[in-house]
Symmetry: D3
Subunit: 283 residues, 6 copies
């Protein structure tokens, strides 16, 4: 039942705390899980792998240690590279080209979480700044520890957030509400309670251990369901954003034309009648 070969990574722990459930842990606690250059590549490698691993059905994402989900970009390291502030060679247009390519690469790493075919649950805790918001908006479900400190921090380092938050926060937090504008324009820290009240997270849990426990419980629960149904639901829902209801209805019909021809339907129905838990083929 355990995946044959989980991806290896230096800055992430990938474990399987339960059947069909992977736990990805950002693992650079000495730096508050801040992201250095190799971590982006590892992140994408891991989620691209998990996306199609038939032994997995749901993923939880957290940070190692008690202090932070992630403090965001490792600004110290970034400030020594030429990208931020544009100190590289060439004229402005050439620097801009280089910067744009770099941003697209970082976006692609974060988008690997959003593109992952399986649901991903962000379990955020402690410092969750900048990239921490980018990552959690790329997840499907967000649960927070009581004392989490959130900030869309980018404005504080002189730039508009550019690896996902501004594109996905309106999608996951109820549009361009007054609150969304306030926290993105001011970079002020907000609490778990405020995140819950504004629909950014759906649950607040006291204590990191309990948070991880509840996150894994939910992941296990989702993993008992038909993977055809669960992964189809994620795909269709995400396709709804920025498109019309009519387009999405048609897309849904095309999707289910194949997907409804699965053995999961009869297994699920039969189990429902027999009050048993169904088992489903790998996907």
């Amino acid at each position: 039942m355990s995946p044959s070969s989980l991806p290896n990574a230096k800055f992430f722990n990938v474990t399987t705390p339960a059947p069909f459930v992977a736990h990805v842990e950002i693992n650079r606690p000495s730096k508050m899980n801040a992201f250095c250059a190799p971590m982006w590549i590892e992140l994408k490698g891991i989620f691209d792998h998990l996306s199609t691993d038939p032994d997995l059905r749901c993923i939880v994402l957290s940070g190692a240690g008690d202090r932070a989900f992630t403090a965001g970009l490792d600004v110290q390291e970034a400030s020594q590279s030429s990208t931020l502030g544009g100190s590289g060679p060439g004229d402005t247009a050439r620097k801009a080209t280089s910067v744009r390519r770099h941003i697209l690469e970082l976006q692609d790493a974060v988008s690997s979480v959003a593109r992952c075919e399986k649901p991903v649950i962000a379990l955020v805790h402690g410092i969750t700044f900048g990239l921490g918001i980018d990552l959690s908006t790329a997840c499907d479900i967000r649960m927070a520890e009581t004392n989490t400190k959130f900030s869309v921090k980018e404005v504080d380092i002189g730039l508009a957030a550019d690896v996902g938050t501004l594109s996905r926060l309106p999608k996951v937090a109820g549009g361009l509400t007054s609150w969304v504008k306030e926290i993105t324009l001011s970079a002020r820290v907000f609490s778990a309670e405020e995140a819950l009240k504004n629909n950014f997270v759906s649950r607040v849990v006291s204590g990191k251990a309990e948070l991880i426990k509840q996150g894994i419980e939910l992941a296990k629960y989702i993993s008992t369901k038909s993977p055809v149904a669960v992964q189809g639901t994620k795909n269709i829902l995400d396709a709804a954003w920025g498109r019309t209801v009519e387009d999405n209805l048609n897309y849904t019909a095309v999707w289910n034309a194949a997907m409804i021809q699965s053995t999961d339907v009869s297994r699920a129905m039969l189990s429902g009648l027999q009050k048993k838990t169904p088992t489903f083929e790998k996907l």
Copy 2:
């Protein structure tokens, strides 16, 4: 003042509890108002009719009996047809074609509620599973009885919801929030209180009788307003989803170019000055 000919249906009661207000009641209480094949056709027939009936200005939709708004698709019946699970004749592509056509038909029935020119208020109570969510997301306003049990049930029968919920829930419940993903991916039951907190319903009322009463009161109130104004508001608002603000502003200007040339404007203004209730021509 009462509509000359309300549509007749076997599985729905259609009444006019107040001037300009229709009450559509799903009427198969012995089966928890679960939908069998003919009900889809009746549903569309009813709402297509009500959509242009000049004697009506607002519609409420509820379920007969105390146990359910609707338990959703009549799974027992559906499991004997060839659509679910794809047991029909032909190869996979041919089955897929048949399944796709069938889904598009069912979607079209549910969409008749969304397309209805008049506002529709869903009054949900008891079991509101699967199709119950599809139907209520196709309505404009949702009010729930305190003990309503909601579930986006489809994942539990092995498929992604395909007749409207996944396309419309992001529209009516604040985007693709953590909560929207959680309830659609897990199929877990949620309460009226949770529905209220997450903006899925705008009112929770204790007792089905009181729910119906308040729903009809709201429908009556809306029916006292200019039907040109009310129906234009519904049309323009729905056109906003999945399109840009700029496109919608232009569409609004084109819409009102004709609609503002109505006698309702002077009648409404005059009544406002005279503190009287205006009357409006039929629409």
Copy 3:
């Protein structure tokens, strides 16, 4: 530090209560700040000017006097013009053309607030009807005084709201929720508390003086941040609505290709390390 030439206007006060902060006050208190014809032109003139004034970084918008943010369109005046109700010359098509042009002009005035490159904070209080909602949805952040009375009033004068509310309310208030439909279809008055609960405003403050104070405080706080970062954040966020995440990510990368090449990044970072408040060049 104060802007060299603030725009002059008969019906608006424009002041600079703090460095980089402009306060625009709708100033026709004797008529509850209702809008007469010249006010639309003044409004656009003011916000077009403020949009590119390098001495300003954030704007607050409120109404003069205690009674109203604005009671909306000056209906008395409007009823004497030929637009509403379409009493002008020509056949229906010609009237429609004239009405459409007029609506597009009024929309353009309101959109000047939304297009303003700087964040605009609506501080609403007292009567906030009709155009008051149009204006506040065109702002980025909304804060309300405790006793504010809101109404999407247009249905009460026989027409669908056509200068912005129906296009922007779904964007700023969590989509086409049950609540959004209810208040737009019924024109009923709602309270500040209800506005807060439904994410329309992000803060409720007791007393108009305190509201203005807190609004200016927030504006001052935002003005301490990098204007490149703040104005980029506003631009990118607004471009997210009605478009896909993928399109917005690409747009963001193109935007930041230039904007990240600013001195603000190093200034902000250095100040962060030195625990000082950075200063930024004008923009």
Copy 4:
């Protein structure tokens, strides 16, 4: 091999000149095949039926008699109804509502041709005015007799074409070219040769009999191909218009996920190797 029950219609002949090929003939030659009210309903009935008839794979559409494909709307009849010119009851807004509903119905009839799952080949000849253009733009392929006289005639009766031409001509004739604007703004008559040069038709044939013959030949040829492949090609191509390449690629992958699992692939390949004509199951 012949369809069990072809739809019956008063104003259309429906025949099967070859296996899997239907010929729909507009049949009101005494009036130059001009459309009277019942014809719209018949048109939709026929194409809705043909769309899913498993015995059909391609459809040709022509007009009875030598004089016209269709002269368009029966203006004489239309001028006696209340829709054109808006002479019906009620104020402008109420007339507008009635007109809008009527246009949507007529559009829906024309769109039944575009929605038809099978390819439709327009064989146009003689007078092809107004609705004749609407209908032919709703078809997939257009072939014209040498002496065809085309006109987007609506401007000549005082209105913008509203049942399809303005929406589909940019799609089928190379965008909003100078020629497209010229013929739609001026209503001038254009020839088959001009239609060919401007990519509106793909073939010009001398003599109506020869046109019908060649049209049916092409329909027969298309009908020898895999219906899964042909109908999928039509569906995916039409979904490309007004959407991005990225969206269409994803849609295509979802579509083919089921459709490629057909026996047609192995049959087609085997026949290719054996230089035989494959046969395919009905669809």
Copy 5:
């Protein structure tokens, strides 16, 4: 019949060579009609005025003198300003902001031609470089003199065309064809014949005088038609680009709901029966 007050301009002649027809002539022949700074403002002023002048129904646009429609931007002048090459004050981000605002202004001037409610016919001749292409793509119909020399010249001065060509050429010249890419990527000069073959212009005429004559003839012809029909046709067609057929059909129905209620319909029909030329009210 002549417009009461045609706009005055230093660098443009505006005349009325025929009833309802305006002729706008770019008038800086000593500089090959190259655009200096004030010309952009004049251009917008003229077309904003003509757009709603009831005495006009069609506009032709040409260049003064024999040598050029326009040689494009006055590069000499532009090279002394700080915009091109970004030599202005401030860091890269601040320069970028200033450049972006400037481009948006120039685009807005060109877009005033596209937004003009009346059809605009570009009569191009001689050198038609850079801005000459931008302007002509913003027109509805393009006719060229035999010896016209076209070039999307911007690549030759080191930049991507940014005031309209790249956005509108795919719309008016058959999508992103091989030819469109070739001429935009290479900046090579192309002839009138090539422009005709590639659907960029719809007519080639020998001699400038004859070109002007034929252009005005076409404008006169279009001006004999119902202005409600003509201007509606332009509006609806332009709304088709970048949107779906379904959206455009709905928009068309809403547009015509008012516009069909014009006296033009009965006048046009009656004149048709009487073989007379109808006259229409001003619009």
Copy 6:
């Protein structure tokens, strides 16, 4: 001037026939350049590399040998894999998932050509079937040898083309014209002359050697232009498809805000005045 490290590939030759010009040759002539599994990966590897190689500015793509550009997918090989016809393990839904992932991968390989930042010129000759069309629609410019035989062949092997043709042909060949529908629905072979007439290619050249020569000449010519200008033009043009003119204008302004701040502008202008050929920094 020659790129330091051109990508190595087994099935492709990559050479630099001129400064800044790469020539990619599909190199499996014994199989008519049909694509076997490893070739997709190589293709993507090559174009991802070339996309950002600063020593290159334009790319030509042709096939090795005289017989074919490419005969398309290696059907013999493909028929032995489980993807086509869906003979893999699992139920229909699981097969569909596997097929969908596979199609998305193949699409991604073809899209690497379209995404390549530099212009790509397809030089097609001999058999150009199936994938040959997919590849050439992903290029910017298409030139054909006189005797090229084209076919959108997929319908002949029982499936709708799914790696790019149906999504990009409407973009590069003038929309969904009658001709586009005819060749895609019938899979019939068409000639270079027909391809030229229908705007699919922009030049027909006699003899493969001459074709390659002219292709390289054009590539060299484009490479003399500012790479900032050329690559910006490609990016902005491609962003126009499926989006509105207004969105594209705004995107263009943001793009050029940085890109116009290049030294290329002054170099190009100066060279223009001096009638010299400018040189540009690498990009």
